[in-house]
């Protein structure tokens, strides 16, 4: 039994079918990378896993417990499944420390003192403890994204979903964010990430899935996917990536 099982998941927006039967397993402490062209459903799949979007068919199981469909407690699910977005989405009216401690104090009912102490430990780890009282708009994109990761980590999730978290960053800021993800992978955090950073996927992924037209078209260890892709579509996609100088 895998940690996260996605079985035949369908998702449509009106007449447009985004996911047409996605099957995907994530084993605990694994890092799984989703690659694929824009609009292939990577972000939608991630949003379905933490219940931000409802699915129309199939099922999603986390630790063998069904977490999709009617009757599930979405708020409880999202406490266990953290997500980080491409556009950071920090709360602009709150300082960094308030961003990080909001959910622990309001959802987990942790005391402010305890939550702030834990938040400072996390902020120290990413080297931003000096920015704790700053507001997000005063931080660089890379710093904002690092805070967004810490904000999700403060809920101590079992699974982290990272949705193209470096796509909105200037190139020189990408590494500071990826370093954190690398550290998380080393610590054994289970992660599912949608990414265009192929080099990074090659390095950290236990498994790479190529998503195409709403299904997992091909999956395998990174060496195989990037070195010897079996499917025509995968080859074509990777060729374009190489031509763009991104691999």
């Amino acid at each position: 039994m895998a940690f996260l099982e996605i079985k035949g998941v369908h998702k449509e927006f009106g007449a447009f079918q985004v996911l047409r039967g996605v099957n995907l397993d994530v084993i605990e402490h694994q890092v799984v990378c989703l690659i694929g062209p824009s609009g292939c459903g990577k972000s939608t799949l991630l949003r379905c896993i933490n219940g931000l979007e409802k699915i129309q068919g199939g099922e999603i199981r986390l630790e063998d417990d069904r977490v999709s469909g009617p009757g599930i407690d979405g708020d409880k699910l999202r406490q266990n499944v953290g997500i980080v977005f491409q556009s950071f989405n920090l709360f602009p009216h709150m300082s960094v420390i308030e961003n990080v401690t909001l959910a622990p104090t309001k959802v987990l009912k942790m005391s402010r003192v305890e939550a702030e102490a834990k938040a400072m430990v996390l902020l120290k780890r990413i080297g931003l403890e000096a920015k704790a009282r700053e507001y997000p708009d005063r931080l660089s994109g890379g710093q904002q994204q690092r805070v967004a990761i810490v904000r999700a980590l403060a809920m101590e999730p079992k699974l982290m979903l990272l949705d193209e978290i470096t796509s909105a960053l200037d190139p020189e800021l990408v590494s500071e964010v990826l370093n954190i993800v690398r550290d998380l992978a080393k610590q054994g955090m289970t992660m599912l990430l949608a990414t265009h950073e192929m080099g990074f996927a090659k390095e950290v992924a236990s498994k790479v899935c190529f998503l195409y037209e709403g299904v997992v078209h091909e999956e395998g260890p990174p060496a195989q996917i990037f070195g010897d892709p079996k499917e025509e579509r995968t080859r074509a996609f990777l060729k374009r990536i190489i031509e763009a100088g991104r691999l």
Binding site: D75, R78, Q79, N89, H93, L102, A103, R138
Partner: protein, 386 residues
């Protein structure tokens, strides 16, 4: 002139006209100052309050308007320099001097217009041997009655709008949230909120005041309910009918608070809604994905951001509300306006009403500055590079 190097910009137009016009305008303003001071001298003599000390004021007024010649003169001087630059083919210098000449001329125009408006107002007040002034600004009447009017303003207008504003802030938010409630089960709640807003934004405030202020007490609805509530705290059974009425009667101004809350609640709900909808949905995603419930998301993430954005339109509605407290006289509340009309009718003079106008302006200004300050503070704190 044609032997300039091919310019990448147009040659500036000559500023001579501006400079001359500035001189003429300054002259006109000084003439207006003379005229106004003559009018003042006549009016003050007529009122029997003329003293030679006033001549100092008149002298200063004329001298003050004479300072308008200073920028006009500078404009002329700089225009002369521009003409020289044009003769030298110095195109850069020409642009700089022409721009400076226009700036000086416009300083004359701007301050001159300001001075003319003031002279115009003074002349208006003093025309016809200060008859206009006496109608609106009869000082003895103002001195005698200002406290009476101000007292009614504080007791009624101020009480009504402060109480209403507090209620509207809460009620408007409740209606806005009801209108935005998600899901299929929320549909009837949304419908109720929409109907409420449509109805109470549609009815003129004065009509709502009339209907509620007279209607509810007349219909006996309050007599049906209030004695039971008061009865929980006070033993009414031993009291006479008159005594019971004395302790259970709800003052009319409270009904005014209710009516204005219903009217302005509908406006403010729409302002809140616009504010909430202006917050990008990704903020909801971010909050929900941390495990916050819908209500927590609204409470901690969306509404605080929305409120910061709607401060200015909210103040607009509040100022509208404050002014509408002058309507409560239709149900017989003796507010500042009603009081001033009584005085005006007795004295056959509008100066008491002027007091009301001044009072309303005076309470508005500090609020506007307060909201400016709040917005500024938020911007300095939250925005980059502040």
């Amino acid at each position: 002139m044609t032997d300039f190097p091919a310019p990448s910009q147009h040659l500036p137009r000559r500023s001579d006209g501006f400079s001359v016009a500035a001189m003429l305008f300054a002259g006109l303003c000084v003439l207006a100052a003379f005229g106004t001071t003559r009018l003042m001298r006549g009016a003050l003599t007529g009122l029997g309050v003329y003293a030679s000390a006033w001549e100092i004021v008149f002298g200063l007024t004329i001298a003050g308007s004479g300072t308008l010649f200073w920028p006009a003169l500078r404009s002329l001087v700089v225009t002369a320099k521009a003409r020289a630059a044009r003769a030298r083919n110095d195109i850069v210098e020409l642009r700089i001097e022409t721009a400076a000449a226009k700036d000086h001329a416009f300083i004359t125009f701007g301050w001159g217009a300001f001075a003319l408006c003031i002279f115009g107002f003074i002349s208006f007040v003093l025309t016809n041997d200060a008859a206009v002034g006496k109608t609106f600004f009869l000082l003895p009447l103002i001195q005698a009655k200002w406290w009476l009017v101000t007292k009614q303003f504080l007791l009624n207008n101020l009480f009504i709008f402060v109480a209403t504003e507090i209620l509207v802030l809460v009620w408007g938010l409740m209606v806005a949230l009801a209108r935005l409630i998600p899901g299929k089960a929320g549909r009837p709640i949304r419908a109720l909120a929409i109907i409420y807003c449509d109805v109470f934004r549609g009815i003129p405030a004065i009509v709502t005041l009339y209907l509620i202020g007279f209607g509810i007490p007349t219909s006996g609805l309050s007599d049906l309910i209030v004695p039971h509530i008061v009865g929980l705290f006070i033993d009414l059974s031993a009291m006479s009918v008159a005594e019971v009425r004395a302790v259970t009667r709800i003052p009319v101004s409270w009904w005014c608070v209710l009516a204005l809350t219903l009217t302005y609640g509908a406006y403010v709900a729409e302002v809140y809604r616009a504010g909430i909808e202006s917050i990008h949905w990704s903020q909801v995603s971010a909050a929900r994905s941390l495990g916050l419930s819908y209500i927590q998301t609204m409470r901690y993430v969306i509404v605080p951001q929305a409120v910061r954005r709607i401060m200015a339109p909210l103040l607009n509605d509040f100022i509208g509300l404050q002014k509408d407290t002058a309507l409560v006289q239709v149900v017989g509340v003796v507010d500042a306006f009603n009081q001033s009309r009584i005085i005006a009718a007795n004295a056959f003079n509008l100066s008491a009403v002027t007091i009301v106008a001044i009072l309303f302006v005076l309470i508005t200004i500090p609020q506007a500055r307060f909201v400016d300050k709040l917005t500024e503070r938020d911007n300095a704190r939250m925005r980059a590079g502040g």
